[in-house]
């Protein structure tokens, strides 16, 4: 797999470490009444879709940026790559 890094261009996936579902970026509110249930969902439960999947990759052997890669888990085809910090910032603003 080739990951088209937004800053560095196409890089081999072996330079990256895969963390998991991109929803891990949005941590639950620890002060919520049902925080325990929310953290259980956050930490352990996964959608694990067969098809399009947004996931976090870390460019460990490169510029050490976190990326959000949109990839099809049936074909391994990558359709979008974003910097995780850009996505997180946009989510904070909205």
């Amino acid at each position: 797999m080739i990951i088209n890094h937004p800053l560095l261009g196409p890089r081999d996936a072996s330079e990256f470490v895969h963390l998991g579902d991109a929803t891990l970026l949005s941590r639950p509110d620890w002060q919520a009444v049902d925080a325990i249930a929310q953290f259980h969902e956050y930490l352990y439960q996964r959608d694990n879709p067969a098809g399009e999947y947004r996931e976090l990759w870390y460019h460990e052997q490169g510029d050490r940026s976190w990326l959000i890669v949109t990839r099809n888990t049936i074909t391994h085809e990558i359709s979008a790559v974003e910097l995780a910090r850009d996505v997180a910032r946009q989510e904070q603003l909205s």
Binding site: V17, Y44, R46, N48, A50
Partner: protein, 416 residues
């Protein structure tokens, strides 16, 4: 049907036209006591034990493709019971004992070969961990021997003992472990279940569940609606996809694990050898091919094929451990989809939906568990109580904080 030397000679002389299918191809009935979703090794084993041990024969096994098309036909055939934690080891030892009697139980040759498994140790810490694991194995009634470097050298003299990074210090040996012919396991269980009256229905995909007021009363399939008192899902690899049709999310990610086989060679490797420090395990099939693999690729996948970096890594490990294999040629490589659970251990449990049961999360260790998984699942389905060796395989253990994490890797499936 019984096989004999005479029947093989007779059929050989008559063009092998006399063999008959060993299970029926029935149409689904409108209702069963138990519907098992998934005709892989575990589903077929469940059907066999339900019928033979627990006397429940009004059972259907629904398979989306053909029997043995999933991981039961894709694994590297290793059978062992060398776990550490008390949630796992007694279960796998129960499985080992069932393996030892499987051919008699099924009256079918599954080519069970107890040629031993040797886990290599490369550091003091790894040797100490193996000593502890070996003791846990002995306490469960399994066999285990801690070998020093000389004993390992005596057994497998062809290894690279003086590798600068991973010198071999010793190993943990389980002599009762070994290999079994994976397809034959599926076929043997299928034939047995069928002969006890279980309907095995192939090319029948479950597209939905009939759920009303929190109770599951059947399945929607590509061949019509089938009612059941109990629905038992057993589709490791696709668990999340199937259970999503019942509205459930699981503590599971699907990952791809690759496997490889070389062209046939003369007898070279006596048992199974694992190089855990480097991610390689290898054995030799009865046909002579070296069957080997490494770690999962590390990203979510349903593709049943992997990518080059892991292939390269496994080849490098092989060269590091067994340099003499450098000129062996690869014959085939393939991938299977693993149910990677959040603690690396499986789940055999009821679900919050009444009448719906779940078996999955086998990570890359499902094959060796096939008999015990079938037995434990059949026990749960027949009695509504967990089998004594599977009490910790609960679906809610993540919420309860009762994880069974052999590696201590935490909720990071690609590290288990």
């Amino acid at each position: 049907m019984r096989y004999s030397a005479l029947s093989i000679i007779k059929n050989g002389l008559t063009g092998n036209k006399g063999w008959k299918p060993v299970w029926r191809e029935p149409d689904p009935k409108p209702k069963y006591d138990i519907v098992i979703v998934g005709g892989g090794g575990h589903g077929l084993a469940t059907a066999h034990y339900l019928a033979k041990k627990y006397g429940v024969t009004n059972v259907a096994v629904l398979e989306k493709g053909w029997l043995g098309s999933g991981n039961i036909g894709r694994n590297t055939t290793i059978v062992r019971s060398n776990y550490l934690l008390d949630g796992n080891q007694p279960f796998y030892e129960h499985s080992m004992k069932l393996w030892e009697g499987l051919e008699t139980d099924l009256n079918y040759n599954v080519m069970m070969s107890q040629r031993g498994i040797l886990n290599l140790a490369h550091s003091d810490a790894q040797r100490d961990a193996f000593a502890r694991r070996g003791n846990a194995m002995l306490m469960s009634g399994a066999d285990a021997e801690l070998l020093d470097a000389d004993a390992v050298r005596n057994m497998v003299p062809f290894l690279n003992f003086d590798n600068a990074r991973f010198p071999i210090q010793g190993g943990l040996l389980q002599r009762r472990a070994g290999t079994a012919r994976h397809d034959a396991v599926a076929w043997g269980y299928a034939r047995s279940a069928d002969s006890h009256g279980v309907d095995i229905i192939q090319n029948c995909e479950v597209t939905g569940f009939t759920i009303k007021d929190g109770k599951c009363s059947g399945v929607e399939t590509s061949r019509g609606t089938i009612s059941a008192n109990k629905v038992a899902v057993c589709v490791a690899g696709s668990s999340s996809v199937v259970m999503a049709r019942a509205g459930m999310r699981l503590p599971i990610e699907s990952h791809v694990l690759q496997a490889f086989v070389t062209e046939g060679l003369k007898p070279t490797i006596p048992g199974v050898v694992t190089f855990g420090a480097g991610h390689l395990y290898i054995s030799q099939s009865d046909k002579g091919g070296l069957v080997f693999g490494g770690d999962i690729d590390g990203y979510n996948s349903y593709a049943q094929r992997g990518n080059m970096p892991v292939i390269e890594h496994v080849a490098e490990d092989m060269m590091a451990l067994m340099p003499f294999l450098g000129r062996a040629r690869l014959l085939r490589m393939w991938g299977g989809v693993m149910d990677m659970s959040m603690d690396g251990s499986p789940i055999i449990d009821k679900t919050p939906i009444d009448g719906l049961y779940f078996n999955g999360g086998w990570c890359y260790g499902g094959f060796k568990a096939t008999p015990a998984s079938g037995d434990a699942y059949a026990h749960l389905l027949a009695t509504d109580r967990p089998h004594e060796t599977a009490t910790q395989y609960r679906l809610d253990r993540f919420a309860q904080g009762a994880m069974i994490d052999e590696k201590g890797a935490g909720s990071q499936p690609n590290l288990h």
